[in-house]
Every structure is written in structure tokens, then in C-alpha cells.
């Protein structure tokens, strides 16, 4: 009996095995294509999404409110047949440098896409990291125009820029003035001096003259968003003898500002807010009857859209008694963009995912406007904002007319009469 050996051509030597593995590796590298550093990623299972929010620090209240938008997303995505996402949470601590390092850490931990981070300064820092590492970032909330003016390929923003916010704010203010048949002749403009507040202040100077507004700015007062006392700022505003208050604020300062208005016995004709703060749940619950009246001009949801009702139902289940607001809507929509793109891409490869995000065309969304799609700079130019008023613990949409559910109340009820 002879033992048959395999023909030389069929035998696998150690050398040929190593060479084969090498060739296969090179081939796989080419297949992986243009992924940065040729990292090969698995194309199945949930997509790992790093969600960066200011969960602590002076913006913690808003960051945690944004998290509610994350909390309700999974059930809605499942019902809509969208793929599952694994959320990796990151805390920016309301700090730009921490935001940058947390973005790097989340990517190091395997995040295949990033979402965040409410604050323009922090989002700009995260965008730099995302672009450098080649990981798609979908910005939920941040308005500084510069973020999408850098020529980034991996950065997308489903939120209006400061000039877009101002354009819509002035349009909606005119609508409100028309509806109530009154308008302030002068305003005091109070704003935070962070990236967002400064961008808005610059934008007002450039854009307001084009809108022929009925009021002039009697005084501009900037302040630190982490301020612990706004008594001097409000005293200065009161001394300007203006009819109304135009504000770009955050949450804590919006509460401080309102308390000072009450203490210093000044009820302006209206509080016209062009940023967060006045519509936040914590503001409404903390200040109670003193929270009634401010009108916010901000990116907002369309109460008539079907998905809005779904969000309201899920939010009521997850967080009873909390009003749906910008933080939930735009954080949810950022995840919606990622999930929708992942479904179409069928791949976790960052470039494929970024290309899919760039091709986004979602019409069944929540925010006011025709839907979500991105221009060459990664900006959703379709997003439109609204005006809404605090009324007895609820937020009612008053403009634009196609999204309105109530007529605005004007002027502000005097604070002393509320006690």
C-alpha cells in the first residue's frame, strides 16, 4: 500500500499560506476602499452611535433634556423598520475641550457615527475630530454658521444656522405683531457671550436692517452664560426704558433673568426669545406662573405632522408631564438621519455612511419645514422654525400660520398681578 500524497499544486506550504494571507489582506484593504486608515468594519448588527451632550456643567439641564430625544428613538425606529442603533453616551461637561476629548474617546471606543452636541462651540470642536478621523457627525443643535463653512465631508447639520434662525425669527415676529395688532417700538437685546450668542448678535446687526422691523435696539447687553446673578444686567435693561426684551439665552440664565424681572418689578410688553431657555421644561416647572408669556422664535416641531404625534406619545410614556420641545425633536431627528442612512447604506463603512447621509431625503419628519436633506456643505437648508408661547405650563405654536395652533397672547401679564 502506498501512501498517496497530494500533488504539488494542491499542497499548501507555510510560505504559500503566509503569502496568500498577505494577498488576501491587501485585497481586503482595497475592498474596504477609502475608509480612513483602511479599517475594516463589520457590516452587520446595530450601528454604534456616539451621542455627545452637555450632561453636566451649566448646560446640564438642556443636555439631559436632549437625552430624552435619544430615549424615545429606539421604539419609534423599530416601528418604522429602521435598523437598531447602539448608543454610546458621552458627556461634554459644557466644555469645548472636554467635548473634543470625549469625541476622540467615543471613536476610540468604536463609535461609527457621532451625534451632538447642542452647543456651537462644543459642536465645532467635535466636528474637527469627526472630520480628522473620518467618522460622520450629525449635529442635532448648534447654529454657528462657521461649522458648515469649513469644507468638511463628514459633518452634517439638521439645524438652522444663526442667519437662518434670525431670518425666520424676524419673519415670524412680524406675523405675531400682525396677529396681535401691536408691536414694540424699542427692545433691549440681551444675549449670552458664548459662540452661539455672539454669532446671533453679529447676525442681528447684519440681517435686521433687511427686515424693516418696527423696533430699534435701545441697548445691547451681553453676559456670561454661567452667570450666577443677573441683577445688574436686568437693572441696566430696565433703565433703557424699552418696550420689550429680545433675548438669546440658555436655560439657567433664562430663569435668573425672569426672577430678576419679577424682583425688579419690570414687566416688558413682551419677551421675544431667539434661543433656548424659555421653552425648557425646567424653566416652566421651576417658575410656574411666572413662566407664562415669553414667545420663543426657534427651530420647532410642526404639530400637524404625523410623526410629531408619535413623538408626543412616546415622550409621554417615557417622561410623563414633559412637553415635547426643540431638544427632543432635533436630537431625535439627528438619530433618524443616521438610522435612515445606515438602512440605505447597509454598511458601517464611514465613507459609505457619510455618502448615504449626504443623499438623505426624509419628508416624514417632525420639525417645521418640508423635510431633511443636505446641501454640498452638509447643511439642511429646508429646516424652518416657528414661534411658540408659554401658556399655563404648555407650549402653543403661534407661527408660521401653517403650523400654528393658537393665536398669540399680548402683552405679557404684569408679574405683580400673578402673585
Amino acid at each position: 500500500m502506498t501512501r498517496k500524497s497530494a500533488p504539488p499544486s494542491a499542497r499548501i506550504s507555510r510560505r504559500s499560506f503566509v503569502a496568500g494571507v498577505g494577498v488576501a489582506g491587501v485585497g481586503a484593504g482595497f475592498v474596504a476602499g477609502t475608509a480612513p486608515f483602511n479599517i475594516v468594519r463589520a457590516d452587520s448588527g446595530p450601528l454604534k452611535v456616539g451621542v455627545l451632550l452637555p450632561r453636566s456643567g451649566y448646560e446640564a439641564g438642556i443636555g439631559q433634556d436632549c437625552q430624552r430625544g435619544v430615549d424615545i428613538a429606539a421604539a419609534i425606529f423599530k416601528a418604522r423598520g429602521l435598523p437598531e442603533l447602539t448608543i454610546l453616551s458621552g458627556d461634554t461637561e459644557s466644555n469645548v475641550d472636554v467635548a473634543r476629548s470625549r469625541a476622540e474617546k467615543l471613536i476610540g471606543d468604536g463609535a461609527q457615527a457621532l451625534v451632538g452636541s447642542f452647543d456651537s462651540g462644543q459642536s465645532a470642536a467635535i466636528a474637527q475630530v469627526a472630520e480628522q478621523k473620518g467618522i460622520p457627525l450629525v449635529i442635532n443643535i448648534a447654529a454657528a454658521p462657521a461649522i458648515t463653512e469649513q469644507g468638511y465631508k463628514f459633518v452634517f447639520r439638521n439645524f438652522p444656522t444663526a442667519p437662518m434662525i434670525l431670518r425666520d425669527a424676524f419673519t415670524d415676529q412680524k406675523t405675531v405683531f400682525g396677529l396681535v395688532g401691536a408691536a414694540p417700538k424699542s427692545v433691549v437685546f440681551m444675549h449670552v457671550n458664548d459662540t452661539f450668542g455672539t454669532a446671533m448678535a453679529k447676525g442681528i446687526g447684519a440681517i435686521m436692517p433687511k427686515f424693516n422691523m418696527p423696533y430699534t435696539i435701545a441697548e445691547e447687553i451681553s453676559y456670561d452664560p454661567a452667570a450666577r446673578d443677573l441683577s445688574v444686567e436686568v437693572a441696566k435693561a430696565k433703565a433703557a426704558n424699552a418696550d420689550a426684551l429680545l433675548v438669546v439665552s440658555r436655560l439657567n440664565d433664562a430663569m435668573l433673568l425672569t426672577r430678576e424681572l419679577v424682583k425688579q418689578r419690570w414687566t416688558p410688553q413682551a419677551i421675544l426669545s431667539m434661543g433656548p431657555g424659555f421653552y425648557e421644561d425646567q424653566y416652566i416647572k421651576t417658575l410656574g406662573k411666572y413662566a407664562n408669556g415669553p414667545i420663543s422664535f426657534s427651530p420647532w416641531y410642526d404639530p400637524h405632522k404625523p410623526l410629531t404625534a408619535v413623538l408626543e406619545t412616546e415622550l409621554a410614556k417615557a417622561h410623563p408631564g414633559v412637553n415635547l420641545n426643540t431638544n427632543h425633536v432635533f436630537t431625535f431627528e439627528a438619530l433618524l438621519v443616521v438610522a435612515d442612512a445606515y438602512k440605505r447604506a447597509g454598511s458601517t463603512d464611514p465613507k459609505t455612511l457619510a455618502d448615504a447621509i449626504r443623499a438623505t431625503n426624509i419628508t416624514d419628519n417632525v420639525a417645521i419645514g418640508p423635510g431633511i436633506s443636505f446641501d454640498a456643505k452638509g447643511q439642511n437648508v429646508k429646516v424652518r422654525q416657528g414661534a411658540f408661547q408659554n401658556r399655563d405650563g404648555k407650549l402653543v405654536t403661534v407661527a408660521p400660520p401653517e403650523a400654528a395652533t393658537a393665536k398669540p397672547e399680548w402683552p405679557l401679564q404684569p408679574y405683580p398681578s400673578r402673585s
Binding site: 451649566y58 446640564a60 447687553i221 456670561d224 452667570a227 441683577s231 445688574v232 444686567e233 441696566k236 424682583k263
Partner: protein, 290 residues
């Protein structure tokens, strides 16, 4: 701008400055006697603020009533801290004291963050949004109470150091450490007592501060820095100096905010500090080093 606006802002600045002064007083007392710079000062104030917030939430007890009990709790905390932890470091190089107290500050602020979370918490008393009107001047009621409490506590502390035997013994320790040992004073116990009194001042200041500002775990470093600015301006180790420094910083910030941009008001407080360091390094009411 009308004169009454300046008056309103100046009065607000004086009242805020009194609370600042009370907080800084604790730092000044501790340094004046124990010669240890308490880098966990702001964090100790934050502890007092959280105690006030928790007791108000749970039992609806007004912070004005809580002032004495919380000062007593902080006294005990300070006494134990000095006796158990800081006393061994009193004669060690200053950098080791610095590291010890900075570590303590980090532990306190992070423990508060873990326990209470990052949200701002406030005390909503029945008079939280009240104000008093005196002619053209409208004064925040909570600031009036806080300022008045600061004056009472400072006066009590001043009387303690001037009129009681223990107070005199503590001053003897501050004036001549070796002499105090020679005449048989229990210096370690007196140091612990002094640290406790400094902590009690911070406790009282923190309890009053909750009436004026929201409480967050990370307030500490800002207030530690503010306390340093105040005591250096007023004179390190001088009790009246701490109160004067507090009022000066409070009024400067308020008026600067009114005359210039409010976001730059802290710059003027630090400007005063620089001027004092240049022209009167011992502080406004401090004693020149021998």
C-alpha cells in the same frame, strides 16, 4: 442713566458683597490662626448649600432658620477635618498643605456630583421673588436677609474673639505660636476649634447663598477663587478686612457691570486685586509683615 439706577445697583452690590465677605471671613480666620490656606473653601460652602437645599426640600424649613444648625454641622466638619487630617500637615511645607486641600476639594465636588447630579437646585421660599421698595430703590428681599445675616454672624464672631477666653486664647495662638505652647495652651485643640469656626462661617454663608443663587456641585472653585480675591484685598487674617473686601468686590462688580459690559464685571474685581497687590500688598486692613 438716572441716579436711582446706580443706587439700586450699588445697594444690591453691598448686600451681595456682605455674603461674599462672610464666606471669605472663614478663610481669613483659618489662615490668620492656623496659617493653612483652605483650598477647599468654596467646596465646603457648596456642602452647606446642599444641606440647606435638601432640608428645605424634605422638611420645608426656611434657610434663615437653618442658618445656625447648618453652621453647627459645618463647625463639626471643620473641627474633625482639622483634628484628624490637617493638623499633621500644619508644620509641613506649604505645597503639601496645598495638595492635601486641593485633593479634598476635588473629592467634595465630585462626591456632590455623584450624589446630587449636575442639575441646578434652588430653594423656593415664599419670599424668593419678593422685593422691598424704599422710594426709588427696590431691594431684593432675599439679599436683604442674607446681608443682615452676614452682619450678625460677623458681629458674633468678632465678639467671640474679643470677649471670650477661648477667643483670646485663639488670638494668642495666632500672635505667638511658641508663646502659646509655653503658657500651656492646647494649640492643636484651638487650631481645630478655629478651623471649625471658619467652616461655620462658610456654612452660614452657604445657607444664605442658597437664597440668592442656584446650587450646583461645581460652584466650589469659583467661590474659592473669589474668597482669595476678597481676603487678599481686605487683608489676609483681618476679620473686618474680609467684610470690607467682600463689599468692595460686590460693589465694584455691580457698578462695573452697569458702566461697562456686564460680562466683563469680574475683570474689574481682579483689577482691584492687582492694584492692592502693587500698592498695599498686606491688603486694605492687613498688618504689614514684621
Amino acid at each position: 442713566m438716572p441716579l436711582d439706577v446706580y443706587l439700586n445697583v450699588a445697594v444690591g452690590g453691598v448686600l451681595t458683597g456682605l455674603v461674599y465677605g462672610l464666606m471669605a471671613l472663614g478663610l481669613s480666620v483659618i489662615f490668620g490662626v492656623v496659617r493653612v490656606v483652605n483650598f477647599a473653601h468654596g467646596e465646603m460652602m457648596t456642602i452647606a448649600m446642599y444641606i440647606a437645599v435638601v432640608l428645605f426640600s424634605a422638611l420645608h424649613v426656611d434657610p434663615l432658620i437653618l442658618l445656625v444648625p447648618i453652621a453647627a454641622v459645618l463647625f463639626a466638619f471643620g473641627y474633625v477635618l482639622q483634628a484628624a487630617l490637617i493638623n499633621p500637615f500644619v508644620r509641613r511645607p506649604e505645597h503639601t498643605q496645598f495638595l492635601l486641600l486641593v485633593a479634598l476639594a476635588l473629592i467634595i465636588s465630585n462626591a456632590l456630583l455623584i450624589i446630587f447630579g449636575p442639575d441646578a437646585r434652588s430653594v423656593q421660599t415664599s419670599y424668593a421673588l419678593d422685593s422691598m421698595q424704599f422710594g426709588p430703590i427696590i431691594v431684593d428681599t432675599t439679599k436683604v436677609y442674607a446681608g443682615a445675616a452676614a452682619i450678625v454672624v460677623t458681629a458674633a464672631l468678632f465678639a467671640f474673639f474679643r470677649l471670650t477666653l477661648v477667643g483670646k486664647a485663639i488670638r494668642a495662638c495666632a500672635d505667638n505660636y511658641t508663646g502659646a505652647l509655653v503658657v500651656g495652651l492646647d494649640v492643636k485643640r484651638l487650631y481645630a476649634l478655629t478651623f471649625g469656626l471658619g467652616a461655620a462661617c462658610v456654612g452660614a454663608a452657604g445657607t444664605m447663598a442658597v437664597l440668592v443663587i442656584d446650587t450646583t456641585p461645581m460652584l466650589g472653585p469659583g467661590y474659592t477663587l473669589l474668597a482669595f480675591v476678597i481676603v487678599i484685598t481686605g487683608g489676609l487674617g483681618s476679620m473686618p478686612g474680609a467684610l470690607l473686601g467682600g463689599v468692595l468686590i460686590g460693589v465694584t462688580e455691580a457698578i462695573a457691570g452697569l458702566l461697562f459690559t456686564p460680562s466683563a464685571k469680574s475683570m474689574f474685581a481682579f483689577g482691584i486685586l492687582v492694584l492692592v497687590l502693587l500698592f498695599r500688598p498686606q491688603g486694605l486692613l492687613g498688618r504689614r509683615a514684621a
